[in-house]
Symmetry: C2
């Protein structure tokens, strides 16, 4: 029988930080690491794509992927590829993944080439992703993907029907093995370089929205809703 | 003896496109795939970070990473971890990697949740990354990393000295197994949804530079150079 039960939702158990594991301890610049839950959530919630890594035939594959967050659970567009297994009546063993989200906030121009850097915020999530099969959970997942891009949009679009849900592959990945890494501030030049004649500082980077472009076939009587003009 | 020779640089052999391989044939939305060399270069040249995937202890790892391009070769900040092997006199077998670069260009808001999407440009590179050990090649690589962020900056900063080069880990990855994927345009709603009362179209996204922030210890007599005010 295909799996129809929904795994228990993970909770934060009242803890403000994720527990570091061997996989999530940083090897470089450990002072920039954080396991703070609120920081992790803010980084995850601010990006449009993640980069999902998995292993296929022994080789790494990294694909830009849509996702959304519901509490301590991520829903990720995609498949474990295990449908043949499930149709044979075997449970989905899950797909080991690494999901990474990065924001580049600035270019750090030092006096030395060696100390050039970026200001950034990143989160790395390790875990086992499982195929979502329950239609109600899939609806929650698809709402999460849509609302992740534009909060509230799931209420201003036609929800998926049964056929569309069946055609949508979504993975579930819980936030347990998680780390964040952040760099902020100016360049860290060596003291002996401070007299060099090069401009040094930070060029900030940010993502901005452009003016919304209506679809060619949009009825002109339909005005831009408030939640979109607010962008 | 440690490896000191520089591998021959790859060339395009006058071909305008990369040859697809099993790993680079897309499984989904193949009509969006491209193997055009110039398109791949433009996507790679426009991003500040890539997401580098590799396998460690059988599990995938994806890290945001600095990189730069020199012709058909990428230089990537990082290590294969094979220094113990090399110090034992064995050649570096290289690290199988997947390097992915993505630009999100717009949010595609369809009338149905199912047809929501993103406009994007992405490149996926598969290959074996090798540690750069030759000091002259390392200098080329470090210049490429600096100039990738700000073209020309390698000429307006102090080049790395011998000690800094020794402390810099850089990988070489050639552009042979490469694919690009691009989505542009408006939403692709189903015909039966065209009468629904939801605003539909595209919200463009772009990355913009903010006003440069000089370092606290910058000599005020050093003006912002032209190549930075041009941003």
């Amino acid at each position: 029988m295909p799996e129809t039960t929904v795994a228990h939702e993970p909770t934060s158990h009242g803890q403000a930080a994720y527990e570091p594991t061997d996989r999530t301890v940083l090897t470089r610049a450990r002072e920039r690491a954080s396991y703070d839950r609120a920081l992790v959530h803010s980084i995850l919630d601010a990006a449009y794509v993640c980069h999902l890594g998995f292993v296929r035939d022994g080789r790494p594959v990294v694909l830009p992927t849509l996702y959304g967050r519901v509490g301590e659970r991520l829903y990720v567009h995609g498949s474990t590829g295990s449908r043949p297994l499930r149709m044979a009546g075997k449970p989905d063993p899950g797909l080991p993944v690494c999901l990474t989200v990065t924001h580049v906030d600035g270019l750090v121009l030092a006096r030395s080439a060696f100390h050039h850097s970026l200001n950034y915020r990143s989160v790395v999530v390790h875990g086992i992703a499982h195929q979502v099969t329950d239609p109600e959970e899939k609806t929650t997942a698809l709402d999460a993907l849509v609302d992740h891009a534009i909060p509230g949009r799931s209420h201003d679009s036609r929800p998926a029907n049964t056929k569309e849900l069946a055609a949508t592959a979504v993975l579930r990945l819980d936030l347990t093995e998680v780390s964040a890494k952040v760099r902020t501030g100016g360049p860290n030049d060596d003291p002996e370089d401070l007299g060099l004649p090069h401009w040094t500082g930070v060029i900030p980077l940010s993502t901005t929205y452009g003016a919304p472009i209506p679809a060619d076939d949009l009825d002109p009587s339909i005005a831009l809703p408030a939640y979109l003009s607010a962008l």
